[in-house]
């Protein structure tokens, strides 16, 4: 469904000798329809940048990317993106923020409202629809951002550390809700996180990015059927392995 081939991306950087910093080099990834992929890596390695490139917000310097759409795209958008910061529009109510991506799709006002409220209900904020963003807690804002991405009913959902700002209990319940949603809608998910436990609990595949420029350092497939136990011993072992690899790479100058 997504084929990324030899993707490279550099930002201009006047301080470096060749005038640019290469963030991603020869990055390859293919994602099957409905797959749940987690991307982990150290801060600043290029995880957010990767999502930006996939979303078409930053043109790559080289490489190709194919994103095959499936099904009827009327009233929908090809992807939904949850930014690392909630990035709500302060002049819109919660409901209107969630409806942001639905505008320009030829939907009636009532239809947009219905879909926005549906998405809000999914993240447990149906009763906050009429509020202003400044009246929400940080975690609630992040959930509104998730609802905004879900509202456009995308095939591909990209999430950049969406639960990073939440307390452990809310995070766990949203993780389970995300899994539930994913099972019901068969969306493809690219999920960036710092939290290796979270990655291993959620994903079919965990991709470790490291180095500068960043490349895929390891890829682990997790076959454990869902629902998974959070204290599953195989999962714990894998978490430890990935964590060790990551710290080796950081210590050993692999970055």
């Amino acid at each position: 469904m997504i084929e990324i081939r030899d993707l490279s991306l550099a930002f201009p950087n006047p301080a470096s000798p060749d005038g640019r910093t290469v963030v991603l080099r020869d990055f390859n990834l293919s994602v099957a329809p409905g797959e749940f992929i987690a991307i982990v890596g150290a801060s600043g390695v290029g995880k957010s940048t990767l999502l930006r490139v996939v979303a078409g917000l930053v043109p790559p310097n080289s490489g190709t990317m194919v994103h095959a759409q499936s099904g009827d795209l009327r009233g929908r958008r090809p992807y939904g993106l949850v930014f690392q910061d909630a990035r709500l529009l302060p002049w819109r109510t919660v409901r209107a923020n969630v409806a942001f991506g639905l505008e320009g799709l030829g939907l009636s006002r009532a239809e947009r409202r219905r879909r926005a409220e549906e998405a809000l209900a999914l993240v447990g904020l149906a009763d906050k629809a009429g509020r202003w963003p400044h009246q929400l807690s940080g975690g609630q804002r992040q959930r509104v951002a998730i609802a905004r991405a879900l509202a456009v009913d995308p095939d591909l959902l990209m999430m950049d550390e969406p639960f990073g700002a939440l307390d452990a209990i809310t995070r766990q319940s949203l993780q389970d809700e995300l899994l539930d949603l994913w099972r019901r809608t068969s969306k493809t998910i690219l999920f960036v996180t710092h939290d290796i436990d979270e990655a291993v609990y959620l994903a079919d595949r965990v991709i470790l990015l490291a180095g500068s420029p960043a490349t895929v350092r390891s890829e682990d497939r997790i076959a454990t059927p869902r629902p998974r136990a959070r204290d599953d011993s195989a999962a714990r072992a894998l978490v430890t392995r990935i964590r060790d690899r990551l710290s080796d790479l950081m210590d050993g100058g692999g970055i």
Binding site: L81, L89, F100, H134, V152
Partner: protein, 279 residues
């Protein structure tokens, strides 16, 4: 006439013992009634001082008539019909000057803010024209339009234009790039969609502040623009002052203050409604 200096000594900031200053004195919102009361007290104190100055013989009343003399002068001016005439003329200048100046200023500022090329293209023209005060255009206003309401309106437009131009330009350039990226991510990629959905709402606070400054600036320009003989309140004030009828001058000053106050109050009400999303 000097303010009581003893209050402003270096020790004045130290609070009296036992009297604590709330930690968020700047942010705490005093109750509505309290604020209204203080505003009223301020006005009363101002009028009292003004009344006292000519009455105590500190200044001759012909140079500064006391406020108690103003209502009488006002009634006489209204009876003669001159007040209504002057006000209607001035309001027409004010309205058109403000409308044209604000709309063109905001439009030019927003466009320039959206286009780097346009900003470069206009930068030196703006630098050259900007410092010329509205009054300096009076000779041209008269040559181009004669001593007409159009000439007066033109002067007002110039003053209001620059205020709104710079407010809108700055506001648009300050729009958070992240929000523009958000628009891209959710399919709003055209310049028009970004303008409507992100740029204008994000810039609205500063643009409205510019508009409000313009409301006041336009009254200043009205007086200036009418001094050279276009009928209106400025012209009537010049006549009165040449006759040393200072009470009539004050009648018009008060009239202007009143109209400004009303317009500004209405404006703030509309603004607060538009900006209710702010904390």
């Amino acid at each position: 006439m000097t303010p009581p200096a003893s209050q402003n000594g270096p020790g004045a900031e130290t609070p009296a013992p036992g009297k604590r200053i709330p930690p968020s004195a700047f942010l705490a919102k005093p109750s509505r009634r309290h604020r209204g009361l203080w505003a009223l007290l301020g006005v009363i104190a101002f009028l009292a001082v003004w009344e006292a100055v000519p009455r105590l013989g500190l200044v001759r009343p012909v140079l500064l008539p006391p406020p108690s003399a103003i209502p009488q002068a006002f009634v006489a001016e209204v009876r003669s019909g001159q007040w209504t005439d002057a006000i209607v003329h001035s309001l027409v200048h004010y309205f058109w000057g403000l409308l044209i100046g604000s709309v063109t200023g905001i439009a030019a500022g927003v466009l320039t803010g959206m286009s780097r090329r346009l900003e470069d293209f206009t930068s030196w023209v703006v630098r050259l024209l900007r410092p010329i005060p509205g009054l300096a255009w009076v000779p041209f206003a008269i040559i181009w339009f004669g001593v007409t309401p159009t000439a007066a309106t033109f002067i007002i437009v110039l003053g209001v234009f620059w205020i709104n131009y710079f407010a809108a330009l700055g506001a648009v350039q300050a729009v958070d790039r992240d929000l523009l990226e958000l628009a891209d991510a959710f399919g709003h990629r055209s310049a028009l969609a970004k303008l409507v959905k992100i740029v204008l709402p994000a810039a609205s606070g500063t643009i409205l502040a510019g508009l409000r400054t313009g409301l006041g600036q336009a009254w200043m320009s009205v007086v200036a623009a009418e001094l050279f003989g276009v009928p209106g309140l400025g012209q009537r004030m010049m006549q009165a002052s040449s006759l040393l009828a200072t009470d009539i001058v004050i009648v018009y000053m008060a009239t202007m203050a009143l109209f400004y106050g009303l317009v500004d109050m209405g404006f703030v009400a509309v603004r607060d409604r538009l900006m209710r999303w702010k904390a």
